[in-house]
């Protein structure tokens, strides 16, 4: 409100929220998305598809009501609504989108076409992006504390699980791929998680002490960090290739290791490569986190007769924890993505579906590998962000 407006006295006026520039991005995306094909229809799994527009992909009533709802919420994004409403509306839109797209197979495919496939197309992805941005924007403006943020994530994951369990999406292509690979899917999920978390765990085991040593000894730091940096720059495919040779030779020379499953291909070289990638963030963040511990606190601890190990455990590591956890977050998110590539050398994981799908030109199978990877990485990022923030906010 301008000063002159205030001075002129209260003119009764409809209270209309102002214009929000950031909100234009999701609104424009949502509007654009409604003009794009919502789903792709294919007569069979690998046949060329045909895009089906939003209004044609859904029963008329659902298309009209749903389209209107999504447009209105997109419009609301352009207005200065409260952050909580922004987040809430975006979640409503995402839920509506999930519900609507479940109706598409029934509307697009004829009952007499058992091999027909209905999969997500550009319109769906763009709507997902639009309201995803809106939700992220709203939650950032809401500045939720770590606890509520984790709860919100849990609620969203629970809703997703409910959606899959309900069978509402069973007509969609990605779930048909899931149905066809059900056993393999969970086995690969275990492998994926095992590789990502196992290599993180190993990197913590080695990286934390190494990081502490680097913080204490500038000479060691000067040697170790550049070396680890070089490792980071090796492209992942090259790295996996590099791991195959020495492990292959090792397994050949020491049959006992071979018996343990350590071979040139498979999970062992993949785990080793991930471990090497993980070292830099862990070591560097540990060292930097320890650098940031207030000198006075360390001096006082020494002056009161606190021994080195105790000082590290009770004072230095807790104060460095937020920075170290940020490093762990980087590693975990990076690992979850990199495990996908490990499938190339037989490491397993969701990447198996990605590469199988690529070779069979079955895009839905690629998605079956890619989507869980993204969800896993996103979950890990949110959880560890919250942990790092909590460690910095509420001290032990």
């Amino acid at each position: 409100m301008t000063a002159s407006g205030a001075a002129a006295g209260r003119v009764p006026r409809a209270r209309f929220p102002g214009f929000d520039r950031v909100g234009v991005v999701p609104a424009a995306l949502a509007a654009l998305a409604l003009a794009l094909p919502l789903v792709t229809f294919k007569p069979n799994r690998i046949a060329a598809g045909r895009g089906v527009a939003f209004w044609a992909a859904l029963p008329p009533a659902a298309a009209a009501a749903g389209g209107l709802l999504l447009l209105l919420i997109g419009l609301a994004a352009c207005l200065r609504v409260a952050p909580a409403s922004r987040l809430g509306l975006a979640l409503v839109a995402l839920a509506a989108l999930a519900g609507l797209v479940g109706l598409a197979p029934g509307a697009v495919a004829l009952p007499g076409m058992p091999y027909a496939r209905v999969s997500f197309a550009a319109g769906f992805w763009t709507l997902l992006l639009a309201f995803g941005i809106m939700a992220a924007d709203g939650s950032a403006r809401l500045a939720l504390r770590p606890g509520p943020r984790v709860l919100l994530l849990g609620a969203v994951l629970l809703a997703l699980a409910g959606l899959f369990a309900s069978g509402w999406w069973n007509g969609l292509s990605i779930l048909k791929e899931y149905a066809a690979h059900r056993d393999g899917f969970w086995a690969e999920a275990v492998t994926h998680g095992g590789l990502a978390f196992g290599s993180l765990f190993a990197a913590l085991l080695v990286g934390l002490p190494l990081g502490v040593a680097c913080a204490r000894m500038p000479r060691l730091r000067g040697a170790a960090l550049p070396a680890l940096n070089v490792i980071q720059t090796i492209p992942s495919i090259a790295m996996y290739g590099l791991m195959m040779v020495p492990l292959g030779l090792l397994a050949g020379a020491v049959p006992f290791l071979g018996a343990l499953g350590i071979r040139g291909i498979g999970a062992a070289p993949a785990g080793l490569a991930l471990f090497l990638y993980a070292l830099l963030p862990v070591v560097a963040n540990t060292a930097v986190g320890l650098d940031g511990v207030p000198r006075d606190a360390v001096e006082a601890a020494r002056g009161m007769g606190m021994g080195g190990a105790r000082r590290l455990r009770a004072v230095e590591l807790p104060l460095a924890a937020p920075v170290i956890l940020t490093g762990v977050r980087i590693v975990l998110v990076q690992n979850i993505g990199l495990v996908t590539v490990a499938a190339l050398i037989g490491g397993g994981g969701f990447g198996t579906f990605v590469f199988q799908g690529t070779s069979q030109a079955a895009i839905d199978l690629v998605l079956l590998g890619a989507v869980p990877t993204v969800v896993l990485a996103f979950t890990a990022a949110v959880l560890l962000d919250a942990a790092a923030e909590a460690a910095g906010r509420t001290p032990a």
Partner: protein, 316 residues
């Protein structure tokens, strides 16, 4: 009692402390003064062996400090630094409990001691025990720092510019509190400062340091009256020397039994007031004398301007 004998410390090419010997009597306050980089902190930190001497010995109550393991030695000596070094992730009570916990006291005893200390330092346990350091004012943080240093009842307290981060009003209060505390507990204090006024105010003895050397080690009155030629003389030779001298004396030292020639309505001065403040009152009220009273209010004669001025000049 601390006996420092021929102690030196070298860092590469710098001789941070150069052949220093001094003796700190039990139950006294010793202030180490000098410019920044003169070696005060290094000397102080050789007492609790945070820094090992390159040469010389430090004896505490007759025992060579080098013969005691460093950590055990430090647990028995209070230590306060300029930034206090409170652990930012620990509550006030856990901070104060640091050394007792290191010494393995049982919980109940620690809790009792923390409670007692917080009260002693005017920090209501119900309000402050569970607070984090960043929720306290500078003065409160300083008090927690001292409380923490005294938690295990050390007989010796080392303080490195403990009031350096406080603003003047709070600093004066903190200095007074330290004086009262030291008297009450009878502890030995070695305090580093770069502020001569603070040294005069607090120290029973003052050691002046320059470039690692201890130039003079004497009670404040002697330092003012007979500064060693050279650096100390220049340091002490400021225009406020008379006032420093007066600040060491009290009204009781200068009063006589004559009648104060002022109206009965003039407020008397207490005999414990230092002469510098008493001079201020005389000048401000524009009188030649003021009645003096004891702490209990009993009359104690008068304080004359001329008696004060006689004591402000160079001592014979």
């Amino acid at each position: 009692m601390i006996e420092i004998e021929g102690v030196s410390r070298r860092f590469g090419d710098t001789l941070a402390v150069d052949d220093v010997s001094l003796r700190v009597e039990a139950g006294t306050v010793t202030a180490l003064v000098g410019a920044s980089g003169s070696g005060k902190s290094t000397l102080l930190r050789m007492i609790n062996r945070l820094i090992e001497p390159s040469a010389g010995t430090v004896r505490i109550d007759g025992r060579d400090a080098a013969s005691v393991p460093g950590e055990a030695l430090r647990r028995g000596i209070g230590y306060v630094i300029q930034g206090y070094g409170l652990f930012p992730h620990w509550t006030v009570s856990r901070n104060v409990a640091t050394v007792p916990a290191l010494l393995g006291w049982d919980r109940a005893r620690i809790a009792r001691r923390v409670d007692e200390l917080l009260r002693l330092f005017d920090l209501d346990p119900d309000v402050y025990a569970a607070k984090l350091p960043h929720e306290l004012s500078g003065g409160q943080q300083q008090r927690v720092g001292v409380a923490r240093a005294l938690a295990a009842e050390p007989k010796l307290l080392l303080m490195d510019e403990p009031f350096g981060a406080l603003d003047p009003l709070i600093r004066a209060k903190a200095q007074d509190d330290l004086v009262a505390l030291q008297r009450r507990l009878g502890i030995t204090v070695v305090l580093v400062t770069h502020d001569m006024e603070e040294a005069i105010r607090l120290g029973h003895r003052i050691g002046v340091m320059e470039r690692g050397r201890l130039l003079q080690y004497a009670p404040p009155a002697e330092l003012l009256a007979r500064p060693a030629p050279g650096y100390v003389e220049r340091l002490m030779g400021g225009a406020d020397r008379p006032f420093q001298l007066l600040s060491l004396l009290t009204v009781a030292d200068a009063r006589d039994d004559g009648p104060a020639d002022v109206g009965a309505d003039v407020a008397p001065v207490p005999e414990t007031l230092d002469l510098r403040d008493a001079l201020g009152l005389l000048l401000w009220r524009g009188v030649d004398s003021l009645p003096v009273v004891a702490a209990d209010g009993a009359p104690r004669g008068r304080l004359t301007l001329s008696a004060v001025l006689r004591r402000a000049g160079r001592p014979a």
